[in-house]
C-alpha cells in the first residue's frame, strides 16, 4: 500500500475547476515530483492534500486512511508536512518561535528542544539567527527555516511547494542537496517544482500535470528522456 494515494481528486475555485481528476501515489521513502507549467494545478494539488482546500470529488488516503474531509490541522497531526509556496515564514515570530510552531502538534516534553537542535544541525545558519524575527531573514534563510519548521513535526511525508523559487542558483543547488540528504535519512518527499530539470534529477518518480490533469507519469529518468517533456518543461529542443 502506498503511503499517500490520490484517486480522481477534483477541486474547484468557485466555478473554475482547477483539478479535473488527479490520481497519484507516493510510496514510503520516495521522492516524487509534480511538474507542470504555471496554473496547471500543482499548488492546488498540495493544498488539497493538506486540507487547505476541500476536494469536490475523489479520495485522498494517507496510509489507507481517508483524509480528504479533514481540516488542515488534523491532516498535519496525521503526519503530512506542507512547506507552502513562498515559504510563508511568520514574519513577526522569531526564528526559534517559528520552529516551535512547527512542533505545535507534538506533545512530548523534549520535542521542541530536540527538534530545534536537529534543525540547527541541518541548517547551521539558523542557529546564528535564532533570536531574529522571521521577516528579517533572506530568501534562502527563509526557505531553510520553512523546511526546518515543517521537519519539526516529524512528518510522515514532506510536501514542498516550489522550494527553489526566487533563490540564487547557488542556493538552489544547496536546497536540492538538502532534499536529497533528507530523503536519505528516510523522509518521504512530494516535491512540486517549476525547475523541472532539477526536480527530475533528484526525484525517483514524477508526474506531469497539465490544466488540472495528469498528462504523463513515470520514473524520473524516463520523464527526463521524454521528448514532449523536454520540449515543454526542460527548455530543450
Amino acid at each position: 500500500m502506498a503511503l499517500l494515494e490520490l484517486e480522481n481528486v477534483q477541486t474547484s475555485y468557485g466555478a473554475i475547476r482547477a483539478l479535473k481528476g488527479i490520481s497519484l501515489t507516493v510510496e514510503q521513502g520516495e521522492i516524487v515530483t509534480l511538474i507542470g507549467s504555471n496554473g496547471a494545478g500543482k499548488s492546488t494539488t498540495l493544498k488539497t492534500i493538506s486540507g487547505l482546500l476541500r476536494p469536490s470529488a475523489g479520495e485522498i488516503r494517507l496510509g489507507g486512511q481517508r483524509i480528504d474531509q479533514l481540516p488542515p490541522h488534523r491532516v498535519t497531526e496525521l503526519g503530512i508536512g506542507h512547506v507552502p509556496e513562498g515559504r510563508r515564514i511568520f514574519p513577526r515570530l522569531t526564528v526559534a518561535e517559528n520552529l516551535e510552531m512547527g512542533a505545535y502538534t507534538l506533545s512530548e516534553k523534549n520535542a521542541v528542544a530536540d527538534g530545534i537542535e536537529r534543525s540547527f544541525k541541518l541548517f547551521p545558519r539558523l542557529r546564528e539567527r535564532a533570536k531574529q524575527l522571521g521577516g528579517t531573514l533572506s530568501g534562502g534563510e527563509q526557505q531553510m527555516l520553512a523546511m526546518a519548521r515543517t521537519l519539526m513535526m516529524k512528518p510522515k511525508i514532506l510536501m514542498m511547494d516550489e522550494p527553489s523559487m526566487g533563490l540564487a542558483p547557488i542556493l538552489v543547488e544547496q536546497i536540492f542537496e538538502i532534499i536529497a540528504q533528507l530523503n536519505q535519512t528516510g523522509v518521504t518527499i512530494l516535491l512540486v517544482e517549476q525547475n523541472a530539470l532539477k526536480a527530475l534529477d533528484v526525484a525517483h518518480r514524477g508526474y506531469v500535470i497539465q490544466t488540472g490533469e495528469i498528462a504523463l507519469d513515470g520514473p524520473a529518468a524516463a520523464l527526463r528522456a521524454d521528448p514532449s517533456v523536454r520540449l515543454a518543461y526542460l527548455g530543450e529542443i
Binding site: T11, L53, P71, H73
Partner: protein
Amino acid sequence: MNAIKKGLKSALSWPAHRFAQLLTAERTALVTALLVTVLASAYQVAAPASGLAILCTLGAALALSYAGIKPWLRVVLMTFLLLGVLPYAGTLNPGVSSLMIQMFIYIALALGLNLVVGFAGLLDLGYIAFFAGGAYVYSIFASSQAAKFLPWFAANAPQGLGGWWFWAALPLALLVAAFMGIALGLPVMRMRGDYLAIVTLGFGEVIQVIARNLDTPINITGGAPGIAPIQAPTLFGMDMGQPTSLYYIGLVFVVLTAIAMYRIEHSRVGRALAAMREDDIAARAMGVPLVKMKLLAFATGASFSGGMGMLFAVKQHFINPDTFGFMESIGILAMIILGGLGSIRGVIVGAAAVTLLRFQFLPDLSALSANWGLPSAIDLTKYQPLIFGLILIVMMIYRQDGLIPATRRKENIAALEGPLPVPAGGTGTSVAK
C-alpha cells in the same frame, strides 16, 4: 438550529421578480397591470391612512416596474399611482403625505449612500453629517437664527429670508455638503475599509458635537434646542410647507436622484467606480484616477444627502442636533443592505420598506397596544434597534446581496474590498466548494 437556518435561508432566498413573471406574458400582463393599478388605487382612496393601503399602492408601483407591458404604459400607470392616487389620499389625510415625504427623503438618502457604499465600496458610517449640513444651511437663513449672529439679518430679515430662499439655498446646500464630503474624503482616502468606517463614524459624531456647541461664542447653530420655526418654501407665491404640497417637491427630488444614479451607474464614472471597488490596484493600472474617483463618489453622495437635508428641515419645521445621530446613519445603511447594495431598485425598495415599518406599522402597533391595554411586551416598536441589528446580521449571513440584488454583478458586496489575500485556513471550506 439547522431547521431554523434552512427556513431562514429559503425565506430570504425568494427571487424578487418571480411573482412578476405573472406579468410577463404580453396580454395577461396588460390586464393584470391595469387590475393591480385599479385595485390598489381603490383601496388607497377608501382607506387613506391605512398602512396596508400604502403598502399595496407601493407594491403595485413596484410590480408595474417589472411588468412586461409597453414602457410608456408602465410610466403612465406608475405616474398615475404616484402623482394621482397618493397625493389625493394625502389630501384626504395628510398623514399619508407626511409618511411619503419621509420615505422620499430616505430613498434619496439611501440612493446617495449607495453611491458611496454600493458603487464605490467605501463604508461610510457618518453619512448623516452631510444631511445635517444641508439642513442647517437652509434653516439658519430661513428662521430667526441668522439674525442672532449677523447684524444685517437682524435689521432686514429678522425671521429669515422667506420662501424663495429654499430655491436659492438648494445649490448652496449641494455645494456645502459636497465640500464637506471632500473635506472628510481627503484625509481618509488611503485608509482601509474598516478604518474608513470608524473615521467616518467619528466624523458624524464630530459634526453633531459641533452643531450642538456652536451656540457659543457665536450663536450659529442654535445649540441643543436647535432651530424653530423654519420657514416653508414658496413656489409662485404658494406655500409649499404643508405635507400635501411638499409631497411633490419630494417626489421630484427622488425621481431626479434615481435618474442621476442610473446615469452614473452606466457612465464612465460608474464603470471606473466599479473597477475600483473590485480591485483598486488593477483599476489604477488601467488609468482610473483613484483618489479623484473616490472623492467624486464621496462628494456626489454627500451632495444628495445635503439636498435632502433641506427638504427634511422644511418638513420638520424644526431641526436639532439630536436628529442627526449615529442611529440614523445605521438606519440608512440597513435600508441599502436590506434592499441590495449597488442595486438602485433594491435600495429604493429597502428604504421604502424600512420607512413603512418604522413610521407606520410599528407606531400603529404601539398605539393599538396602548389603546387596548395590551401588555407592552408585544410592542414591537420597542425592539427597533434589535430588529435593525437582526436585519444586518441575518442579511450578512444569508443574503449579502439584499432582497433585490444588483443585476450588473451578483456578488456585489463580495467585491467591496476584494477577498482576503489568504484563504481561511481553519475552515478549509471557504474557498473551494
